[in-house]
């Protein structure tokens, strides 16, 4: 078991290294000279040389990468080119609002998709199932930013119920106000990640309902609701762990797009701004941070899954010759 964890942790490290190398290479190969942001016309040749040396641009790309990597491992992601302040505090200041958004939408999507999937599976091929499956198709096919825009059109432009952007109204700082601002982005994010979960739970429920323990429970006279939520639910929940881990990708990338649509002051919209300014230190730090959230999500899901399902754990132990 420990060996399995270590192997998975090794994979995490490899993927993180690759992500960082890829992004660094792309930024390095990109047209445009980073030093031009620091060098002004009235500098002497010597001063220019000093600036270039300070930025590390006189070295080759692998050397630059290693230098960056060494600093990054110590938690130092350098100084932003456009703000001239260290990158990390700026990102960590914005991180809580992104995590608030991501966490809430994850919770909402789980709370909605599991019952929906169970009911759709139980009422297989009826109009209820068709409606729920149709809804899942809809969520799968709609671009999240478009759904966000439709929400803004409906709730802000037409009904004047919810604010369209930001996290607080000017001068107001109450939880209710933040909640009002959160409703639309959370719903938008939840919808796109709900689709796959509903379909998965539905398929799983159909599979579980044909098992013999369901028949036994039915024969004993257990009510359908009890069968569904007490017996079937437990068995469909296991794969949900993996799905949630995989959903981290759509959450991280979703937050990136949805924060731009709703002007949410998180790390996603901050990074978008940095991309516009070609501020490569911020971009690198953002990629590493969100890549880390994503890869760790998968890692934790894998580990949890093997703990939750003894069959998998046994399989691993057998593979290791125990």
């Amino acid at each position: 078991m420990l060996k399995y964890c270590l192997k998975k942790a090794g994979q995490v490290a490899i993927v993180m290294l690759l992500i960082s190398f890829f992004s660094f290479a792309i930024i390095d190969l990109a047209p445009g000279d980073i030093s031009s942001m620091y060098i002004t016309e009235d500098m002497t040749e010597e001063e220019k040389a000093i600036v270039i040396e300070k930025l590390g641009l006189d070295k080759s790309m692998p050397e630059q990468y290693l230098a960056w990597l060494g600093e990054a491992l110590k938690g130092n992601f350098g100084v932003s080119l456009s703000y001239k302040t260290p990158v990390m505090p700026m990102l960590t200041k914005r991180l809580p609002s992104t995590i608030l958004l991501m966490g809430t939408s994850l919770a909402v999507s789980l709370a909605l998709s599991i019952p929906l999937g169970l009911i759709a599976g139980y009422k297989k091929n009826t109009w209820i199932d068709n409606a729920i499956s149709g809804f899942a198709y809809f969520g799968m096919s709609i671009p999240s930013f478009y759904f966000g825009m439709l929400m803004i059109i409906l709730f802000t432009a037409t009904l004047h119920l919810l604010p369209s952007s930001g996290m607080h109204s000017v001068g107001v700082n109450t939880p209710i106000d933040t909640l009002m601002h959160m409703i639309m982005p959370v719903m938008t994010m939840a919808l796109s990640s709900m689709a796959s979960k509903v379909r998965y739970v539905r398929a799983n429920t159909i599979g579980q309902l044909s098992e013999e323990y369901v028949l036994a429970a039915k024969a004993k006279g257990t009510s359908p609701v009890k069968i569904l939520f007490k017996h079937v639910l437990k068995n469909t929940l296991l794969p949900i762990i993996t799905i949630v881990g995989m959903n981290m990708a759509s959450l991280v990338c979703g937050s990136f797009i949805i924060e731009s649509v709703f002007g949410w002051p998180g790390i996603g919209s901050f990074a978008m701004e940095a991309i516009g300014k070609r501020d490569y230190t911020i971009i690198m730090a953002y990629i590493m941070l969100s890549g880390f959230i994503l890869v760790m999500g998968n890692f934790v899901a894998d580990i949890l899954y093997s703990f939750a399902d003894p069959r998998i754990k046994r399989g691993i132990d057998v593979a290791n010759g125990k």
Partner: protein, 305 residues
């Protein structure tokens, strides 16, 4: 005396009551299966019709009397009318014509990205599955890593630093989606290469390339077609997200995603500008997704219960 009686070996055998065949023989091709499945599902019929209409409309876009990129400030923000079914945008361009030209870009990017994805994925999948051994292990590690990468993030970074344009977009999209196709085709190839007919043709002296192209490829077409249909859907969706972020097609050309980006600034007072292109994306992607699922139940009956 003439007799039409024809004698053969069978004539001297004992007469037996003819037994009815118990097993019904199916002579069905892939396409017949697909047709039957589509016909039985009204949603799928709708999806096919919608896709046909949208593809033909986009191909016929040059018939429109308007130039999609010509500015006409005098006629900006016209309401929908007979001359302009979708109205006009902030520069007075006919929105319907722009949507058709945008559809050309979106569909072209979707189909090309799918094609490149399928080509790379199938080649690597068959290669890896057929040859096996160390090479297989190496290629699959590589594929696993590609599957684990946060693709959308890297796509955004790639697109913001590379020269924007259609070719870049297609290549970037397929770079991050071939891995799952390779996974599927590898698994199929592994099970096919143990079949008797493959072993037979190998013993008859067929080269590996011939076996892969002539015997394995046609038999893994089912899953590949399904992956292709779902691949177009996801490519169009991703393209629209990238274009929406301003990292896709460059101005003045439009795709559905970049039209939405333009509409975002006027969303509070001209909401219809945002509704049309998004609706087109939604319906197109929805149709491809439905088609993909229908194809799956037609072509992979083992998997679907």
């Amino acid at each position: 005396m003439e007799n039409n009686l024809v004698l053969n070996e069978k004539s001297f055998q004992r007469m037996e009551k003819k037994q009815k065949d118990l097993g019904v023989v199916y002579h069905r091709s892939i396409w017949k299966d697909v047709k039957k499945e589509i016909k039985s599902n009204p949603m799928a019929v709708f999806a096919c019709i919608f896709l046909a209409v949208i593809i033909i409309a986009c191909l016929l876009a040059p018939l429109s009397p308007y130039d999609p990129n010509k500015l006409d400030i005098a006629n900006k923000f016209l309401a929908p009318s007979l001359q302009h079914p979708f109205g006009t945008d902030e520069y007075g361009r006919d929105y319907f014509t722009r949507a058709l030209y945008g559809g050309r870009v979106s569909l072209l990017v979707g189909f090309s990205a799918m094609f490149v994805t399928i080509c790379i994925g199938t080649t690597i999948g068959i290669f890896s599955g057929y040859i096996g051994g160390k090479l297989d292990m190496l290629l699959m590690r590589f594929t696993d890593i590609f599957l684990a990468l946060p693709s959308m993030l890297l796509m955004v970074v790639l697109n913001s630093f590379l020269k924007p344009g259609m070719t870049t977009l297609i290549l970037v999209l397929s770079l991050f989606s071939w891995a799952s196709v390779a996974r599927i085709t590898r698994a199929e190839t592994m099970s096919l290469k143990e079949r008797d007919y493959v072993i037979a043709s190998k013993n008859l002296g067929a080269s590996s390339v011939l076996i892969a192209v002539k015997h394995i490829l046609p038999n893994i077409l089912g899953p590949v077609i399904v992956a292709a249909s779902l691949g177009v859907a996801s490519a169009i969706l991703t393209e629209s997200s990238l274009s929406f972020l301003g990292l896709g097609i460059s101005i003045p050309h439009a795709s559905w995603g970049s039209m939405l980006q333009g509409a975002q600034s006027y969303i509070l007072d001209k909401p219809m500008m945002a509704v049309y292109p998004g609706l087109l994306i939604l319906l197109t992607v929805l149709s491809f997704n439905i088609l993909g699922d229908v194809l799956r139940s037609a072509l992979e009956p083992k998997i679907v219960k």
